[in-house]
């Protein structure tokens, strides 16, 4: 088994910094997701853990042994690749046993291990087939089989489900979790799908622009995002943001005013307010801690079954909007909100509605840095970590 530590790992390609000083401390048998938009450096980070890419700076430790300069074969880890990467000229048995055969394990031991892996992955009876004769899900299982058969101390997974169709993806997601729990192996899982990261991991590491934004359990990332990027990335559909300023004890933007009773603001002026679609209610729904109602027009409705996504145009009274030049009116006089309403709501497009925010779920971020200032503007102030 293995714990894994990255110490200010950095990777530069010429002038481009792909990974910028990432520190990670991963406990034994933990399931960690590295999540971020494409090109954020999460795959590069994984490759550096795997030894396929050499870091420009920093170190990688497994069980407190510095493995930064070890070739991949001596690192005692296994990897599942996005493109599955089964060896096309070998059958399933040969694919799964490849690592064992390289290490000159004796024949009976290989047989035993492969059969055991095949049993875990429901691949019995397919060992003689070639990868081209398998379905997508079966190939993925073979790739996992190849990884688990050696009992590695760390599992690396680089978007292993990205190439599967949606239904199979959800199914394999559960299977992967079961296997991980069964084997109790430290797992690093790279994905761009925040939902995958949220549902599978013990902790989620959100990466953007090569920097670690936040590493925390999924719900902490959701409820207390460290900055505006995490807030926008975690959760689907994504959080609504309104830029504004602080005037006295109020958040003021073109379209709304929100009183901030007790939030310590430390003389920050440029503030972005964030509110998740699921924390917006119609004024008559009465959340316990609500903001002043806001006038809005329903723009588009997207019913998805258990709820309706409502695209809203919030407009402020003429007092503020009237002074604006015509050209800017479109953008400055109004804000778009996305609201997740219960499916039984009786609303229609172009209807005028009043909405309120749940004050316990309003997030404030410093506009300049994106850092979180407060999560929830109800009473006792929660200060971000």
């Amino acid at each position: 088994m293995g714990s894994l530590r990255l110490a200010t790992v950095t990777k530069q390609y010429g002038d481009v910094v792909a990974v910028d000083g990432i520190d990670l401390d991963i406990a034994d048998s933990e399931f960690i997701s590295l999540v971020g938009p494409s090109g954020c450096g999460k795959s590069t980070t994984l490759e550096m853990i795997g030894g396929l890419t050499m870091p420009s700076e920093g170190q990688v430790f497994i069980d407190d042994n510095d493995i930064t300069d070890l070739p991949p074969k001596d690192r005692d880890l296994a990897m599942v690749f996005q493109n599955i990467a089964l060896f096309p000229h070998m059958n399933v048995y040969e694919n799964i046993s490849y690592g064992l055969r390289i290490r000159n394990t004796d024949k009976e031991e290989i047989d035993r291990q492969v059969n055991q892996a095949a049993e875990t992955l429901q691949l019995e009876g397919m060992l003689e087939r070639s990868p081209s004769e398998l379905s997508g899900g079966q190939r993925q299982r073979v790739a996992i089989g190849r990884a688990i058969v050696r009992n590695p101390s760390v599992f690396l997974m680089d978007e292993p489900l990205a190439n599967l169709d949606a239904k199979l993806r959800v199914h394999m997601r559960t299977e992967l979790q079961q296997i991980q729990r069964e084997l109790d192996v430290t797992t690093i899982y790279v994905t761009h799908d925040q939902e995958e990261a949220m549902t599978m991991s013990d902790r989620v590491a959100v990466i953007n622009d090569g920097k670690l934004q936040q590493i925390a359990p999924p719900l902490t990332c959701y409820n207390e995002p460290a900055n505006r990027f995490v807030a926008g990335f975690i959760g689907s559909p994504s959080m609504n943001f309104v830029e504004g300023t602080i005037e006295g004890e109020q958040f003021v933007s073109e379209t709304l005013r929100v009183g901030l009773d007790s939030v310590a603001l430390d003389s920050v002026t440029g503030v972005t307010l964030g509110i998740r679609p699921e924390d917006i209610y119609f004024a008559d729904a009465e959340p316990p801690e609500r903001t002043e109602p806001i006038e809005a027009t329903v723009d588009v409705l997207e019913p998805i079954g258990e709820k309706i996504f409502v695209y809203l145009d919030a407009e402020i009274d003429e007092t503020a909007g009237g002074e604006l030049a015509d050209a800017q009116e479109e953008t400055r006089g109004r804000s778009k909100f996305l609201m997740s309403a219960p499916s039984e709501s009786e609303i229609e497009e172009a209807e005028s509605v009043e909405i309120v925010f749940d004050r316990t779920s309003v997030h404030l971020f410093e506009t300049a840095t994106g850092e979180a200032i407060a999560h929830g503007i109800a009473e006792p102030t929660q200060t971000p970590r």
């Binding site: 074969k73 990897m79 990467a85 060896f87 690592g99 290490r103 050696r150």
Partner: protein
Amino acid sequence: MAGSEETERNLVQRYAKQAIERPQSTYRVLLYVALAFFLIASLFPFYWLFVIALTPNRSIVDMGLLPKGFQPGVFIDVFEQIPFHIYMLNSVIIATLTTIIVLFVGSIAGYVFGRYDFPGRTPLLLVVLVISYFPGVAFLIPLFQLFTENIAFLGVHSPMLYNTPWSIVMPLSALTMPLIIFLLSTFYGQIPDGLEDAARIEGSTRIGALFRIIIPLSAPGFATAGILTFIIVYNEFFFSYLMVSGTAGEWAPVLHGIFQFQGSQQVAYDLMAAASIIGVVPVAILVMIAQDRIVSGLTQGALKE
């Protein structure tokens, strides 16, 4: 009206009309013409060699298209008069050795050029490639000096390689290498990175991944490179002629065997012709076997992921 127009056309006009209306048939005729030309150009020499071989030597004057006489025993005489099989074996050994060296070194170099991205890769590959354009003859005299103990450096003489297979294998390896490197680097470059990464994570070194994953998946390219090398070396003249003295026991290849029938007073044309035909056999067999392999390798679709 239509009927009278038909009769006014001459043969060429009718053919032209047909060609315009049914171009497919014209293409087919042209294909046969071209094919026939190439077949005649490549097979006629063979046929002529057979004619000469079957004609007794004293009758070889004013040859027509048919043999003057019939002596099939000449194909056995070749082996009885000189140890022609030893010459052939020498050739096969020399070509095989060269092929092994070229494929081994060429694979490693092809891997580097095909799969590594390093500064100066393209210029370096071009320099390597330029070498293959040099005529081998240009290197002949210095290499001859080098292989016959005539070059001394710091008191150490170059080794005596004259009359050993190495005097042919080494220069020919060097001359074929660039082409093979170029060929293999294109093939190796096409193998998806993921497969190599997977092999390395699973416990292979880079070299291990090259031999276990990349080469097997590039089998058609690898086979082509091998056959190409073998044929180039087997057919080579200058080094094969000049780097050995010409006796069977001293690594003389096939061409020396053929020249054995050329005396100072008389030339045994029939035996030379028979030896030439026999000399082609190993390469012909190789190409037939390997062509099958290459085709099967391609149709397997082994490269698809």
